[in-house]
Point group: none
Chain length 192, copies 4
């Protein structure tokens, strides 16, 4: 029962994410989400007060999953470059395996109706600070740099590549390990 329940709500979240990415927040109706999740319309309202709440929950959990992954990386005792490479590899893997998730986060970030959750903001800050410290300790990040610089470099360059490829600005080739190396180097150079 608890099991069924968890599966049901997971199906709802998955369906919501996919439909919102492909049709926008308002374009994805509760009826459609419920149908795709093989759940009744009313079922949603036993778990969430309204549509926005459902979306916020998905947003929060996706961000958390990403941050959790980074914390795991930080816990493993890796050289900075290796850490960065794995982080970028992970980002590209998500973009490949569940491109809707990346799209979804992009959409939410730019939708004023959905604030970036404060707890996530704190986590993001913390992550950047830790990365900066690691980088400086290993002398791969210049002493003049701040945590904000890390944020800007590490969390925008890989993401911009994903976007550029999806849009086919120059090419639509799948992202490969060559790209990982390239982006990692660019990031390292940027922060030198």
């Amino acid at each position: 029962m608890r099991n069924t329940d968890t599966q049901k709500i997971e199906r709802v979240k998955e369906a919501a994410l996919k439909l919102i990415v492909s049709k926008g927040y308002h374009g994805a109706s509760i009826a459609e989400i419920a149908k795709a999740a093989q759940v009744s319309d009313g079922y949603l309202y036993r778990h969430y007060a309204n549509k926005a709440d459902l979306v916020k929950d998905i947003y929060r959990s996706k961000l958390k999953a990403f941050h959790d992954f980074i914390y795991e990386l930080l816990d493993a005792d890796l050289p900075f470059k290796e850490l960065l490479k794995r982080l970028i590899t992970h980002l590209f893997a998500i973009a490949k395996e569940e491109p809707e998730t990346v799209q979804f986060i992009f959409m939410m970030i730019h939708d004023h109706d959905f604030d970036y959750p404060h707890s996530r903001l704190l986590a993001l800050r913390d992550i950047c600070v830790q990365l900066l410290e690691r980088g400086k300790r290993e002398d791969v990040i210049g002493s003049n740099h701040k945590a904000e610089d890390v944020l800007i470099v590490v969390f925008s360059l890989p993401v911009k590549l994903i976007e550029a490829r999806r849009k086919g600005v120059f090419t639509s080739h799948e992202i490969t390990s060559v790209d990982v190396e390239n982006i990692t180097d660019i990031c390292l150079n940027a922060l030198r």
Copy 2:
């Protein structure tokens, strides 16, 4: 008459942009846009076939204005670093003076209902290629880099800073000339 007309439709475009940024495409109703522009609901439909058309027009024109500015920079015979600095300065100026415009473009880029106009894609490509050539000629961009790398670096780093400041990830300080220098240097390093 012609004058009034131009002002009216400009008010509509401005109101639409602002409301869409603050409430999303679907959240900004025609009624609200028209009211904010002090225009009747029907007025819109004398100029655009529908709501999407209005938005596409704004999107296209904002992108074009940005690309036009860059082309002007390219035409002026500036050293690469100076060119880059001015480009970044311009981006920050827009973000400061009309933050909604930047937000609007972000939203559109991530909204599947609104394709990036093909003509703009070509312009963007062309701009990156020209920047790459300039950079290589002056030996400030490494010979291993491609136009895509320029795109990723030049068009994501400054923009990410704008976003980080707006969200107050680390600070909400206004962006200053110090930041311009900093971001310019990071970009140059990134492409070395």
Copy 3:
């Protein structure tokens, strides 16, 4: 439940028919129809894709009910004249008991937006052919006549009387059995 449901949708169809007759297709708004049927606006759209669909359904069902009645008459083994009399009596009865229905069908027939359903066209053809055969077999219809003549005579004369009375061209007296006799005779003469 099922019961309520059927009643509801019947109320909608009835209200739609009446309002369309009195105000025309475009004159009868969904809001008005729904209100008259004591149903919400949205209710309609759980049963029909749109307004036109609702109207088509009513149109089709009214024509079918009429054709079904004639088929029953044809199945009963009546002399041609008696058959004709009953058909005409039925038409007048409908015109008296539910004048809107007759009006509705007239309106639909002359509205280019609503095609005469093909299945009904075939039924009408079939009915005329059967009537012709019967009449010829009993020698009350001249051998020179075609099914089209039957159509023209049987389905226009009674209907034109209904219309003339409704408009009060000569009189607005209710249609009586005397009229039935009269019209029947005129029809029989016409096809002799």
Copy 4:
């Protein structure tokens, strides 16, 4: 000028009739009518108080033209059968040459928003009475018949044929002189 004026308003009436027939009363917009008539939207309102007035005027004038034609026939001293034949020929001719006119009248007749003009009702009555008298005088109409019977027979049978052909109930062949003879005979038989 007067000339131009008359032409203009005639163009408007013609455009209105055609558009109303093909798209319905509400489907034909003033803008479209004005455009088709190469006239400004506002021009209509210098001649008619509103859209309905324009339509009423067209309706009235089309009916009048038809009645005038019949009065001319009545004035010519023709045998009843010849008179009837010419009337029917005329009806078919209109149906062929300007089918929209016939359609238009049908639509108006069944549209409760547009009353049959009283003056036309009187004319129609008068016409039927005169036809009845003629027929009786020549002994081709039975003494038992009333003016209403004439109305029903003469004004519904030919019209129903036109409709049947247009809809292709049995055939879509153009109406020919053979049909004229046939319908004339049927009418005469009907009134014997």
